[in-house]
């Protein structure tokens, strides 16, 4: 079966830096799989995510090192790759570029040549999927942080990506916003890859995790097993999440999925 994402021996060094940001990374993500990328600040998580969309490296080597849905990421097929990989950035302000929510969600589809009534129904549909029906005419700078993030997600979904790549999807959200956004992500089909410091997010959504440190893949496997390994967690700037230490005060029904 074709992997949703396949990476072989991927290395990258920012110009002028002595150490590589990514050091011979190799892993696979199966279609429909949800994988968390964990690791301390500066581990290379965001750099890796930019590679998945072909935004890095600036100069491609001869042999491809990344395959999305079986297709190699090369300069020649960047447009297809970017359509297949939906990238949600950490700061919604960077992603929301238009004056109205409608125009922003329509930004991707417009590039694909969709317009008229089909564009309108697509935007409406995407806003409903993220729980913001009727937000078309709103202005991005008047939305709450959680709403901004959802509009960003709607804009990504509008391109119908096969792989969803999320950079810190729950940072800066209040507990309710986080819970709702998690439930929203869980409902979305397709492979998902999320870089996060929110270990509860990994526990709740991602059966499998990768741990990155210093640009290297230091561990991968079952999320609960990895996170329960105290030694491994502390060695890489992480910790055992509370949900693995205590019972949740609201009981298991409160959580999205459990052991």
């Amino acid at each position: 079966m074709r992997a949703a994402v396949e990476i072989k021996e991927l290395s990258y060094r920012f110009p002028g830096r002595p150490t590589p940001a990514l050091d011979r990374l190799s892993f696979r993500v199966e279609p429909g799989e949800c994988v968390a990328i964990l690791g301390p600040n500066g581990a290379g998580k965001s750099t890796l995510l930019l590679h998945l969309n072909g935004l890095l490296p600036e100069k491609f080597g001869d042999a491809p090192q990344l395959w999305i849905d079986g297709e190699p990421v090369t300069p020649a097929n960047l447009a297809q790759i970017r359509r297949k990989v939906g990238l949600l950035f950490q700061d919604p302000e960077d992603q929301l570029i238009s004056a109205t929510v409608f125009e922003d969600v329509a930004f991707g589809p417009c590039q694909l040549g969709i317009d008229g009534p089909s564009l309108e129904s697509l935007v409406k549909d995407c806003l409903e999927r993220v729980g913001l029906p009727g937000f078309e005419a709103r202005e991005p700078h008047r939305l709450s942080h959680g709403e901004k993030r959802r509009v960003c997600l709607a804009g990504v979904l509008a391109c119908e990506p096969a792989v969803l790549v999320l950079d810190e999807p729950t940072s800066d959200l209040d507990p309710r916003g986080r819970r709702e956004f998690k439930a929203l992500l869980q409902r979305l089909p397709g492979a998902k890859l999320m870089a996060t410091h929110d270990l509860e997010l990994a526990v709740d959504l991602c059966p499998r995790s990768l741990i990155l440190d210093g640009g290297k893949l230091v561990a991968q496997g079952d999320t609960l097993q990895l996170l329960a390994d105290e030694k491994l967690m502390l060695a890489h700037g992480l910790e055992r999440p509370h949900s693995l230490l205590h019972r949740h005060p609201h009981g298991p029904a409160y959580q999205l999925h459990r052991l």
Binding site: R82, R83, L87, D94, I97, S98, G155, C159
Partner: protein
């Protein structure tokens, strides 16, 4: 910014179609610009027209004066250049009258019309896409920049314990410099986010 001033106190001027307002403003500006180089009675035509519009729509005086003041710096800057030559006084006076009339016409337009509507009209008129998207991005990110500079100023103020004017100016300089650097970084991230959604 535009939207806020529009939602409060809707006047008849707000309800006029954006295209019409843009056309009339353009006509007023063109007429004013083409007046003779020395002060001329014909300047009373745009002046009385603008006065009628102003008095019937009654824009908030303080807001308009504040905005006029911003433009006035540039106008006076130009006027200063000709002060060295006293013979040029009538020319300077005419230039002052003309530029103020034009600025007031534009102020009335932007006060009564959401910027988005102006953009739509310009798009229908077939202005180059590069110009339109630059304008649209500017309008989108002005509030973000304002918020960012406010946050920086607050953070700076929370660690400022002396009340030296020099220090204040220096930290203002720092903040402006920082704002440039951060904006450049943000522009880079925005560009990446646009590419990620298929921008070429």
């Amino acid at each position: 910014m535009q939207a806020r001033t529009t939602f409060e106190g809707q006047t008849w001027l707000h309800r006029v179609r954006a295209g019409l307002k843009l056309a009339v403003t353009l006509a007023v500006v063109l007429f004013t610009v083409m007046l003779p180089r020395r002060p001329h009675l014909a300047a009373l035509v745009p002046l009385s027209f603008l006065l009628i519009v102003w008095l019937s729509a009654r824009p908030p005086l303080r807001l308009m004066l504040k905005r006029l003041l911003v433009a006035e710096f540039f106008i006076l800057g130009l006027a200063l250049l000709t002060v060295f030559n006293p013979a040029a006084a009538p020319l300077v006076a005419a230039a002052l009258i003309k530029s103020n009339l034009c600025v007031i016409a534009l102020l009335l337009l932007t006060w009564s019309t959401p910027f988005l509507e102006i953009l739509h009209v310009l798009r229908r008129l077939g202005l180059p896409e590069v110009m339109l998207s630059t304008l649209a991005l500017m309008v989108r990110y002005l509030p973000v920049l304002r918020e960012e500079s406010r946050r920086m100023q607050r953070a700076r103020a929370s660690r400022t314990f002396s009340s030296g004017r020099r220090l204040a100016w220096r930290s203002l300089g720092n903040i402006i410099g920082q704002l440039f650097v951060r904006s450049a970084d943000r522009a880079e991230r925005i560009y990446l986010a646009m590419c990620a959604r298929g921008w070429k």
